[in-house]
Structures are given as structure tokens and as C-alpha cells.
């Protein structure tokens, strides 16, 4: 429990998000392009962190389904920024596992001229810490 609490604190710290600001309007979920792929929905992310249920979050599919498009961050009326929470949770998990999914050396061969820069950044966000 206390470690879950610590983890929740850690997520808040990494993301800079205060989940208490959430007014539960659901605009994040309303706006999320990956909503259907997710087991835990963006708005739930906020309450999971709030309630310290980090294990569930860490084991969720959602963590890896989030596109980091930041639409929720952009549209959240309360500046809660659920996308950053997800990002932070992902980071936490990766750190815990001590893994890093993407090495910079691998980039050149993966590079495709048509690949949008944003995707590359997004990939970095997700696979490398």
C-alpha cells in the first residue's frame, strides 16, 4: 500500500499533474482516439492515480495503447492533463523493469522518409527512458 502510495506520488511528481483538479467531465475520454483499445479509460487514469491503484494501471493495456497525441492534454478544461499521467506511469514501469525499448543507434535504420517526426518523438516517449 505504502509503495503504491509512493508510486502514485512519483507519477504525480514526474507528470507535474495534480489529479485533484479533475472535475470528472470526461472530455479526455471523449476526445481520445485510442479510447476503444483501452481497458482503463483516460478519465479513469486520473482517478486510479488519485486512489493509488497503480498496479492496475501498470498492468493495463492502456499504458501501451495511448498514442501520446496529447489531445486530452490540449482539451482538458481543468488543466489536469491525463496524457501526462499516462506518460509518467509508463515511464515508471519502464524504469522499474530497467528496460529501454529503443536505442538511438537503432533509429537510422528504422527511419522512413515518410515517417512523421511526431511519430518518432512519440516512439521515443514510449519506448525509451
Amino acid at each position: 500500500m505504502s509503495s503504491a502510495k509512493n508510486q502514485a506520488e512519483r507519477i504525480k511528481e514526474i507528470s507535474g499533474v495534480n489529479p485533484l483538479k479533475c472535475m470528472k467531465c470526461g472530455k479526455c475520454s471523449a476526445t481520445c482516439p485510442a479510447f476503444n483499445e483501452m481497458d482503463i479509460k483516460p478519465h479513469q487514469f486520473v482517478s486510479y492515480v488519485l486512489n493509488g491503484d497503480i498496479d492496475a494501471l501498470a498492468n493495463s493495456k492502456s499504458l501501451w495503447k495511448c498514442l501520446s497525441c496529447f489531445a486530452c492534454v490540449e482539451r482538458c478544461p481543468r488543466d489536469v492533463q491525463p496524457g501526462r499521467l499516462i506518460d509518467a506511469a509508463r515511464q515508471l514501469v519502464i524504469r522499474q523493469k530497467g528496460q529501454t525499448g529503443l536505442a538511438p543507434e537503432e533509429i537510422p535504420e528504422l527511419l522512413d522518409e515518410d515517417l512523421p517526426q511526431q511519430l518518432l518523438m512519440s516512439a521515443f516517449r514510449r519506448y525509451r527512458r
Binding site: C25, G26, K27, S29, A30, K41, P77, R78
Partner: protein, 662 residues
């Protein structure tokens, strides 16, 4: 040197049980300036007050210190007693040896020692007290109401009914305000015009009310009871005395492409126009930006068709200067601009509208003659989505942090009206919370759901995507089902946040009334003085103070009127003598004090002074005693100490500090 009498109260045993009052008397008798010291059971009693009077007479006292309960309790009692005994009431100081001493300490020695110190501080202060005299200022028995909406009209009517002259200044060509744009009102669903128009007519006909429409407040000077206001009557180009309001000019006007402000720009109007049929006064205005005559010099159709000869292209703006005793601000609200909310596609699709625009569409006098139709193609909609909290409750900087308060109810109203009139239309409302505190409000909302089958979805809309087929794809969430919803709608109605009318900023500056970060006018006290501005003589009516619905607005309008009447009923105002005062010879004229004065009580004069033989003209701060409330902000901001507060002067407070620390 003062001749001070010290009176130590036992307050029964309240003080005497913990403080050795005899010892206090003995100790204070040795203080400089003290010529008399005694104790008594109850100083506040008739007998106690008589003792004070007696000592004043016998010992020729010039100052009084009462060691007793809190000054908040009996300062006035003893001031009055002093006045009766023939000394200035402001020569009295209280040492609070009950609440601040006997009641909180148990050790007699300690409490007695503290009581002596508190008494010494009061004595040290009285030694520096000077008689103060409350000033008087006259009251002009006339009120100004800024804004001619329902708030302004109601305030004006109430003040006028009490027998005082009232002027309404309205910047648009007609009074009526936002309420005149509404179709129906909640929760009774009665027609807005039906209840508003009679009030407009009454105001126009009232012998005590003068209405200045198409006019703006240009300048305000003076202070409570004695404001002087310049009102700019913008050139109407129509002689109001001659115009019969026949309307022919509007019919014949060849320029009909100006967007109609009244209809929120959903259709157009002629260059010469009255905003709506029931406008008061029923005198049109020429919009000089749209008028062909003004633009090209050619045309003059209205002049030709006007049988009354009322058209006057040469009319100029006119400044009316008038004196007022009280000013009521009733500037109302507008909806926010939606430029920051691209996700709702408001600027992309004509079928995404605000609720206020829907009011106009639903209204028989509106752009669609009251038929519910899509503005893009005039087709009858079958699926309508309402989005709540658009721009309200946003803590990011795109919208407003507050709840606009009225949206939940008017959305329920709209949904209900649509379902009633067009049962074939499906109505979905996306909400975050439904807030319905108010008499019959929740019942109203439940009826919309239960009787009219309005589909309420708990969740927000994330995006509205205009489709090639002309429909609007609404992407929202349903938090209860934990689903994302995609709905094809024909129309989307946005419950847009409201904000104070933009002009209120300027008006607040002119009135030196304070304004909060959202541009709402600040009340003098959020709970106890909700309809007064901190600036004396300025009152607040309606939404300019905070979001409100119609009944609340009317109630506040009445309350503001009563406060104004209370002021106008007085012949003279007594001013608090504990006001700031600038030492002419020390003042630098730097304006720093005026910058912190919350009441605009400080002005500057070019004044000739005689500074030890040197005569020169200097810029000097002058405090208006009628406006100054005595907070002292200016005294600390003044580096030289030229500005001081009477009754709490620098030297007095320092004397107290010294007495306590010695």
C-alpha cells in the same frame, strides 16, 4: 500635555477575578499625563458613566482611558459618555483587559502586569490624541443606473417609486438588455417579452425616470452623495422629439446588409433601425458605418420618406452633465468568444450555435421566424446535441474558471421546448454536472428527462466534426457506460460561458470600483454587503457582480435600489473622522498613495504653499474625507510619512509600541 483619567472596570468578577484592579489603578496613576485613576464595578453602567462625567468635570480631564472589555463592545458607549461630559469622543481609548487579558490568563500577577502594560499603551496613545470631528457632505437626490437591462430597469423603477429621480444610461438604441433577446424563461416557460415589455414601458413612462439610450458614461468625478457624471449621447441622426416611430424609414432603407446585433448576427438589418419591434424608445438610429448617405453622401431615402421630418444627418454627439447621489452599475453580460475552442467547430459550421443564438432561432421575431431549422440549409433538424459547460469551469486560460450558473436550466428549457414542439427531434444533452438549486428548478430538469424524454449523457463532448454530408459528428464520452459515443447530429448547441460586458472595465475604472480577475465587480463584502461596491455610493445590480438568473437579478436589483434609496433619503452624510490626511509641506506629490487607495479618495492639486518662507506651487495630495474609509494603505506607502491616518497616527502607534516594549 493631556489631563488623562483612567477608569478601570471590574466587569463584576470578569476582570477583577484575574486582574488586581486596585494595583492597576495604583500603577497607571504614575504614568505621564494621568491625573485621575479609579476603578468601578461596571464602568459601562449608568453609574459608571456618571463617574466618568464627574471626573471630567472635577479634574478638567482632556482624555479618557477605559480599561474594560473590547472596544468592539463599548467603545461607542464611552465615546458617547465622553461627549455628554463635554470632551471630544475621539479623546477616548480603550484598553482591552477582558478579552485580551483577564479571560485568557489565570495567573493574577501575570494578568495584572499585562493589564498595566495595556493601560500604559492606551495612555501613551491618548497623550497624542487630538479631537476629531466627523465631517458632513450633501447628498444629491438623484441616482444614475448604468445599463438598461432587466437589472437596470428594476433598480430604476424601485428607486423612482420611492420618489427619487433616476437616469438610466444604456449604450444600445433600446433598453431591454439580454432579457429582451430571450424567447421563454425558466422554470415557468412564460414568454420573456411578455414580462419584460411592461416593465420597459413603465420605466419609459415613469415621471421620475429619464432614459438615455444610445448613450455612454464618459466621465465620473466626485464621491458618494455628490457624483458628477458626463453622459455622451451618441448622435442618433434621428430627432427623438419628432419621430413617431412609424417604421417607414426602416422599410425603405436601401442598405440592409448590416448584421443584426439583436439577432446575434444571424440575419441582417437596415442601416436605420430599431433593434427590435418593442424597442424603447421606439426611435430608430442610423448606423453611420452602414448608411449609404454617410458613406457616399448620396441616398437620403429615409429623410425623404420621413413624414415627421425627424431625420437629421447633421446631429452631433452631445454631452449631458448631471449630478448624482448614488450610482448603480447594471452592465450585464455577454457570451464569451469561442475562438479558443476549435474542437466544437463553432467557426466551421453554421449549425453549431450558442444557446443565445438558439433563443433567437426559437423566437417568433427571430431570423427563422421561430422555426427550428438549420442555419446552413434551412432544413428541419432531427438530432440535436447540447454541450454543457463550454468555456465555464475551465481552469486553463481558454475559458472561465467559474460556473456560469444559468446554463443547466436554460438547456433543460431548450430541450423541453424542442421536444414539446417537435417530438420528432431527438435531443441529447452532454453534461458534467446538472446544477439545479432553485425553487422548482430540479423538478423542471426532471420533467425534461422524464416527461419529454431528453437524453442526458454524463460526459463531455470532445470534438465536433463537420461531415461532408452536412451532418455533425459529435464525439463524446458516456462516463456511466464507460463508452465513447459517436453521434451524428444536425445541430449542436453550445452552452457558452457568460462574462461581464466588456465595457464594465472602463466603467469600473471611472468609478474606482474594484473588479476581480474575471472582470466581475467586487462587492464590499462577499456575504454581508453583496450589492455594494467597496466604493461608497456605488451599488451593484445583476450579472455585473456575478452570474445570475432573472429572478436573482431582479432580487439583487431591488436590493441595490434599497441601498441607493437609503443613501438618497439622507440629507447629509456624516463622514468617518478617522481619515487619512496629507501634510502639505511634506507631500512630494508622487501619486504613490493614490495608487493604493481602494476608494479613489486621493486626488492631487497644484497648490501654493508657504514652506518656511519659500512660496511655491506644488503638487499635493488631497484626501476626500467623504470617500476615505481610513484603512491606512496610503500612510505606509508614503515614504516621507506626509500621509498620516487620524486616530491611528504614526506617532500614536509608535507610542503604543514603545509603551508595550519598555
Amino acid at each position: 500635555m493631556q489631563r488623562i483619567g483612567v477608569f478601570v472596570c471590574h466587569c463584576g468578577s470578569n476582570i477583577a477575578a484575574t486582574v488586581d484592579v486596585k494595583k492597576v489603578v495604583e500603577m497607571v496613576a504614575m504614568e505621564p499625563g494621568v491625573v485621575h485613576a479609579e476603578d468601578y464595578q461596571y464602568m459601562c453602567s449608568e453609574a459608571g458613566q456618571a463617574k466618568i462625567a464627574e471626573a471630567v468635570k472635577e479634574k478638567n480631564l482632556t482624555g479618557i482611558v477605559v480599561c474594560s472589555c473590547s472596544p468592539r463592545m463599548h467603545e461607542n458607549t464611552f465615546r458617547t459618555a465622553a461627549k455628554r461630559a463635554g470632551i471630544n469622543p475621539y479623546m477616548v481609548e480603550i484598553a482591552n483587559i477582558r478579552e485580551h487579558c483577564s479571560w485568557i490568563h489565570k495567573n493574577v500577577e501575570e494578568a495584572t502586569e499585562k493589564a498595566v502594560i495595556l493601560a500604559r499603551a492606551a495612555i501613551a496613545k491618548v497623550n497624542l490624541n487630538a479631537p476629531l470631528f466627523p465631517g458632513e457632505s450633501r447628498v444629491t437626490k438623484r441616482a444614475l443606473v448604468i445599463g438598461g437591462g432587466i437589472a437596470g430597469i428594476q433598480t430604476a423603477l424601485d428607486i423612482a417609486d420611492a420618489g427619487y429621480e433616476v437616469d438610466i444610461v444604456e449604450k444600445t438604441p433600446s433598453i431591454g438588455g439580454r432579457m429582451s433577446q430571450l424567447d421563454k424563461t425558466f422554470p415557468t416557460l412564460d414568454c420573456s417579452a411578455c414580462i419584460l415589455t411592461p416593465k420597459m414601458v413603465e420605466a419609459a413612462a415613469h415621471e421620475k425616470i429619464t432614459i438615455y439610450t444610445y448613450s455612454e458614461v464618459e466621465k465620473v468625478s466626485g464621491f458618494v452623495g455628490d457624483f458628477t457624471v458626463d453622459i455622451r449621447k451618441k448622435a442618433r441622426s434621428v430627432d427623438a422629439n419628432k419621430c413617431t416611430g412609424c417604421g417607414v424609414c426602416q422599410e425603405k432603407c436601401p442598405s440592409k446588409k448590416a448584421p443584426s446585433e439583436f439577432n446575434r448576427g444571424l440575419n441582417t438589418r437596415s442601416a436605420i433601425y430599431t433593434p427590435f419591434a418593442q424597442a424603447i424608445p421606439n426611435v430608430p438610429v442610423i448606423d453611420r458605418d452602414a448608411c449609404i448617405k454617410f458613406k457616399t453622401g448620396k441616398c437620403g431615402v429615409c429623410e425623404k420618406v420621413c413624414q415627421a421630418g425627424a431625420i437629421d444627418y447633421t446631429q452631433q454627439d452631445e454631452i449631458v452633465t448631471q449630478k448624482y447621489g448614488a450610482i448603480v452599475v447594471a452592465t450585464g453580460f455577454d457570451t464569451i468568444k469561442l475562438d479558443n475552442y476549435d474542437e466544437y467547430a463553432y467557426n466551421q459550421s453554421k449549425d453549431v450555435i450558442t444557446s443565445l443564438e438558439l433563443e433567437r432561432i426559437m423566437n417568433a421575431a427571430g431570423p427563422t421566424k421561430g422555426h427550428l431549422e438549420r442555419l446552413s440549409d434551412g432544413k428541419h433538424p432531427h438530432e440535436i446535441v447540447f454541450v454543457q459547460c463550454v468555456g465555464s469551469r475551465c481552469s486553463d486560460n481558454r475559458g472561465k474558471s467559474y460556473c456560469s450558473k444559468i446554463c443547466c436550466m436554460y438547456t433543460a428549457k431548450h430541450a423541453m421546448l424542442i421536444r414539446d414542439k417537435y417530438p420528432d427531434v431527438n435531443v441529447t444533452v452532454f453534461y458534467i454536472d446538472v446544477r439545479t438549486p432553485g425553487k422548482n428548478f430540479d423538478e423542471f430538469y426532471r420533467r425534461a428527462v422524464e416527461e419529454y424524454g431528453v437524453n442526458y449523457v454524463k460526459g463531455q463532448v470532445g470534438k465536433v466534426i463537420p461531415q461532408p454530408n452536412g451532418k455533425l459528428l459529435v464525439q463524446g464520452s458516456d462516463l456511466l457506460d464507460n463508452k465513447q459515443i459517436f453521434k451524428e447530429a444536425d445541430m449542436v448547441v453550445l452552452a457558452t460561458a457568460i462574462e461581464p460586458e466588456a465595457s464594465v472595465r472602463q466603467i469600473a475604472t471611472m468609478l474606482t470600483a474594484s473588479i476581480d480577475t474575471n472582470n466581475f465587480l467586487t462587492e464590499a463584502h462577499p456575504k454581508l454587503r453583496p450589492v455594494e461596491s467597496p466604493t461608497a455610493g456605488v451599488f451593484l445590480s445583476g450579472v455585473c457582480q456575478g452570474p445570475k438568473d432573472i429572478p436573482e437579478t431582479v432580487a439583487q436589483a431591488g436590493a441595490a435600489a434599497v441601498k441607493a434609496i437609503g443613501l438618497l433619503a439622507k440629507d447629509k452624510l456624516t463622514t468617518n473622522p478617522c481619515t487619512a490626511k496629507a501634510d502639505e509641506l511634506m507631500c512630494n506629490g508622487c501619486s504613490t498613495c493614490a495608487n493604493v487607495c481602494p476608494y479613489g479618495a486621493i486626488s492631487y492639486e497644484e497648490k501654493e504653499v508657504n514652506d518656511h518662507g519659500i512660496r511655491e506651487t506644488r503638487r499635493i495630495a488631497v484626501v476626500n474625507n467623504a470617500l476615505c474609509q481610513g484603512c491606512g494603505a496610503c500612510t505606509v506607502t508614503c515614504p516621507s510619512g506626509a500621509m498620516d491616518l487620524q486616530g491611528f497616527s504614526n506617532r500614536q502607534i509608535i507610542a503604543e509600541v514603545d509603551a508595550i516594549c519598555r
